[in-house]
Each structure stands twice: as C-alpha cells, then as structure tokens.
C-alpha cells in the first residue's frame, strides 16, 4: 500500500542545515526484544519544524523514545550536531538542550503551575529561573493568573501550555513534542500548532513534532516524514506530502477519504 510513497522517500535531504541539528541515522528501536521501528532517518534543524505523521501504532512515539534514550535502541545512531547521543540518559539530553513533551503525562499533576515551571528550570540558578518564569508567562499570559493552581485541576489546553512552558524553561535548542494536540479541540489544536509549535520554530528552535492530526500539522511543517508500520514511507516537504495522491490512503484520519484521491 505505501509502495509508491517509498520512492518519494529516498534522498532524505531534510531541512536546510545551520544551527543545531538533531538527526537519527538508521534508527532501529523497540521494547524488550521487539523491534518496533526500523532503519529510521529523521532530522530537524534550528528554525524549522519537522513533523512525523502516521497512523495509530506506526511507531511515532517509539521513534521519539528512541531518540530520547527512553527505550531500547537496537541499531543506528542519534546525533546532535554530529555527535552521537545514542542512548544517553534524558537528564544529559536536557543539559544538551533537548526538551521533551511526552504524548501523555506531560506535566507534574500534583504540583502548582509555578512549581511545574520551577522544576523545568531545575538546572538554573535562582535569579535566572525567576527571569525565565517571567518570560514563559509572557509567552502564555493565560497562565499568569493561575500560577498557584494545581495542574491536575486544569483544562487540557492549560495543561498543555504548562507542559510547553515547563519545557521552555531551560531555553532548549530542540523541542521534541509527541502529539501535542491529543485530546484538544480543533480550535486549540490550531493554536498549539500554529501559534506555539510553529512560532517556536520561527524563533529559531528546532521543533520535531509527532502528529496524528496530519493535515493541520503538514500545512505548517517545513519537512515531513510519513511513518507506516515502523518505517519512514515518505520524506518530503509538508506541502508535497499533503498533495501526494497516496496520502489519504495511508492514514489521514484512518480512511475517511476514498483511496486514490488527493487531499489538502
């Protein structure tokens, strides 16, 4: 089924170079003895947003966990600016400038908003931490009046803002976001992708986003990877992927569109 996409996926030039570059080379990862993703090459550089799309269970989260040293890597490399960081513990990746917002459980529920941000800035000295909190609250003004609220009692959108804010505290160079719009309304999805993820990229961060809501994400992406059954089936600009005739068939909401008809 994804065969005609395969050919389009060769090359893998990815986004333009410059600044920070995070990439995987032939990454094969999984759980225990089970290999879930195979030979995956993805890349993201400063100032760009790379999106990984694909159906449920394609291995998108596993790819991110492989990059972040959270699951077993069988083969291949994760490179940050040309240096291998394969299997490095998350704490060290954090120090190296990689921030991660998981798909679920992305906040400290039993901590207040301010405490979540403080923990995001755990590695900073007190004065810098306070400055960053102020900066983050400028980015997410809706949180400003709620800094004393426990995150567990907040709405999905507010929790996501807290998660983003927490991730921004260390002023990371790379943001790795796993389905940041999961469970959010269409309006909030647009806010998170267009006004947050995209803006972060425009401000110079390297943003690697996994998304199920493919259309919305592809429209904003500089570069896109389509994952199917643990492999990268296509690697092209977001526009190209959107316009590709096989896209509907591959996933886009799981067969809502008739095969062979292009979307987007």
């Amino acid at each position: 089924m994804p065969t005609s996409l395969d050919s389009a996926g060769s090359g893998g030039a990815g986004p333009a170079s410059g600044g920070t570059r995070l990439r995987t080379r032939g990454l094969t990862a999984g759980y225990g003895d089970i290999r879930v993703i195979h030979d995956v090459d993805v890349e993201v550089t400063s100032g760009t947003m790379s999106v990984v799309v694909g159906p449920n269970g394609a291995g998108k989260s596993t790819l991110l966990k492989g990059i972040l040293g959270l699951t077993r890597v069988f083969e291949g490399q994760v490179e940050l600016n040309g240096q291998s960081v394969t299997g490095k513990p998350l704490e060290q990746l954090a120090k190296a400038g990689i921030a991660y917002v998981p798909q679920v459980d992305d906040v400290f529920d039993t901590l207040r908003v301010r405490e979540n941000l403080e923990m995001g800035g755990f590695l900073l000295d007190k004065a810098t931490r306070q400055e960053r909190i102020d900066e983050v609250l400028e980015v997410f003004p809706d949180l400003r009046r709620k800094t004393r609220r426990f995150v567990g009692s907040m709405s999905g959108g507010e929790r996501k803002m807290t998660a983003f804010g927490r991730a921004l505290m260390l002023a990371p160079k790379v943001m790795v976001l796993d389905e940041p719009t999961a469970g959010l309304s269409p309006a909030l999805t647009q806010v998170v992708l267009a006004e947050q993820a995209r803006v972060l990229a425009d401000r110079g961060k390297a943003v690697l986003v996994v998304e199920q809501k493919a259309k919305a994400a592809l429209e904003l992406a500089d570069w896109a990877y389509v994952m199917v059954q643990g492999r990268v089936a296509m690697s092209a600009s977001g526009r190209e992927v959107l316009d590709h005739p096989d896209m509907a068939e591959v996933f886009l909401g799981g067969g809502a569109v008739a095969p062979g008809r292009a979307t987007g």
Partner: protein, 297 residues
C-alpha cells in the same frame, strides 16, 4: 474521665511517633513506588542499635539522632542494592514487594541470631512529671510530641519550599518529565530514602523508649500501625500519614485503656480493614491511587 484524658495524652504521644514512622514509610512508596515491607525490620534494628547506646549510658535523645542517621544511611544503601536496583532493571511492583519481604525476614533473622531471643529493657529517663489540668505528661513525652511536630513541619517546608522537596514531589508524580527537566532523579530518590530511613530510625528508638521493654517483634507490630496510618491518610500522602498516625495512636491507646492492652493491635487492624473496605484510597488519596495504578499496571 480521668482515664480518658490520661489516655488521650498517651495516644497523642504514641500517635506522633507512629505518624513519623508512617510518613517515612509513605515517602518510600510515594517517591519510588516501592512498598518496602523490610521497613519493619529497620524499626527493630533501630531499637536494638538504640539499646546498644543505651547500655553505654548514651544520652537518650542523642541516641535517637545518631541511630536515625545510621538507619538513614543504611536505608539508602539498601534501596540501591535491592528495590532500587530491581526497579531499574524493570522488575514489576510485585517482584519488588516480594524482594522486600524476603530481605525483611532475612535481616530480622540475622538480628535475632545476634541479639538473642530475650526481650531487652531500656534505662529510660522520663524526666519530670508535669500536670496540665487533667493531663499528666512527662517531660520526655513533651519532647517527643514537640520534636515529632517540628519534624513534620520541617518535612512540610521541605516539600513545599525547597527545590529538593519539589523535585521529590515531581519525581514521584512523573519521573520521565522530571528527568527531562534535568532533575537528577536517582539522587532525589537517594534523598527520599535517606529521609525515610531517618524517620524510621528515630521512630524505632522512640518506640523502644516508650514501650521500655522490646523484642524482635517491635518492628512488625508497629509496621502494622504505620501501614494502617498510611492507608488511613492515603498511601504515599505525607499529610495523610500524619493524620493517620494520630488517629491510629489515639485509637490503639483508647482501646488498650478501656479493654485490654492486648487489643491495641486489633484496633490498628480494624482501622486498616475499615479503611480498605470503605475508602481504599484513604482520606487524602488521589495521587496515591494513581501511583498505585501505575505501579500495578
């Protein structure tokens, strides 16, 4: 009436000590998701270590602190060697639980072999007896109450005001995100086991001081009290364990005074049973049930 007031005094003292121990027990579960049954053995060990110092006429309060520190260090080492190591290797909640039962029993046998089967009796200095209205308390008991309340307040400040305490709470609720913040999770867990061991060691010595005569079963008996207290408040919840400790202390003392001291343990057991039946997540439990679920799943 007099009996009631007197018992109330004893109950508060006993409750404070149980609460301290229950908080220590709760910390282990709350932060590293380990239900450490060997905690009871550490209580017993503390009582014996305190006894060794007591025989040498060591100041009893100083010995509480010294033994507390010793058990704190042992607790960190123990976690690194056993439950922590198992968890890191991906062992499940039940495997780890069984390992702590094994370790608890094994260490207790060693203690019994070394210390012998006879009960030991502390030389206790109760200080002066003071009377407030109908309350009759010794200065020792006042010290225990004061120190326990101060420690709990200190623990509250640690959790809410310091980076370490917040990192402990963060690690407890979401270790992955904690790591992605650069929080040194394994050191935070060490700190949690240190604090928990400190509370365990101190409460073990104070329990022996208040019961005066003790044997190798001290830890098991009081572990049941502490588990009842921890479950009462919602396991993993420090404030719950504090309230639970007071409730269990008062209940056991009142039952002991009005029926027979032999029924004190039964009172603790009834509280545990009632709580498990009526409100298994405990008085304050929400996050605790969550971590239980995570641990079980």
């Amino acid at each position: 009436m007099n009996l009631f007031v007197e018992t109330l005094g004893f109950g508060i003292v006993s409750g404070c000590v149980i609460a301290l121990g229950a908080v220590g027990f709760s910390v282990q579960f709350g932060i590293s998701n380990v239900l450490n049954v060997a905690y009871g053995t550490f209580l017993t060990l503390a009582a014996y270590l305190g006894y060794l110092l007591n025989v040498e006429h060591f100041n009893q309060w100083l010995s509480v602190v010294v033994v507390g520190m010793a058990i704190a260090v042992l607790s960190v080492v123990y976690n690194r060697l056993l439950p922590g190591r198992l968890m890191r290797r991906g062992a499940g909640f039940v495997t780890t639980l069984i390992a702590t039962v094994w370790a608890g029993i094994g260490m207790l046998y060693v203690i019994v072999v070394i210390a012998g089967p006879t009960a030991r009796t502390y030389q206790v200095d109760n200080g002066r007896t003071l009377t407030f209205a109908a309350f009759v308390l010794t200065t020792s008991q006042l010290v225990v109450i004061g120190a326990a309340l101060a420690l709990m307040f200190a623990y509250h400040l640690l959790l809410t005001q310091t980076q370490l305490g917040k990192a402990m709470r963060a690690t407890s609720v979401n270790p992955v995100v904690a790591r992605s913040c650069g929080i040194p999770v394994s050191r935070v867990i060490d700190a949690a086991w240190f604090i928990s061991g400190l509370l365990c060691g101190m409460s073990g010595v104070v329990l022996a001081l208040t019961t005066v005569t003790f044997g190798s079963t001290l830890g098991t008996t009081f572990l049941i009290y502490m588990i009842a207290a921890a479950v009462f408040g919602g396991i993993g919840q420090p404030y719950g364990a504090m309230v639970g400790g007071l409730v269990v202390g008062l209940a056991t003392q009142l039952v002991g005074a009005y029926s027979s001291p032999a029924y004190e343990d039964v009172a603790a057991f009834v509280i545990l049973t009632a709580m498990l039946l009526v409100r298994p997540r405990g008085l304050f439990g929400t996050a605790a049930t969550r971590s239980l679920r995570l641990a079980g799943g």
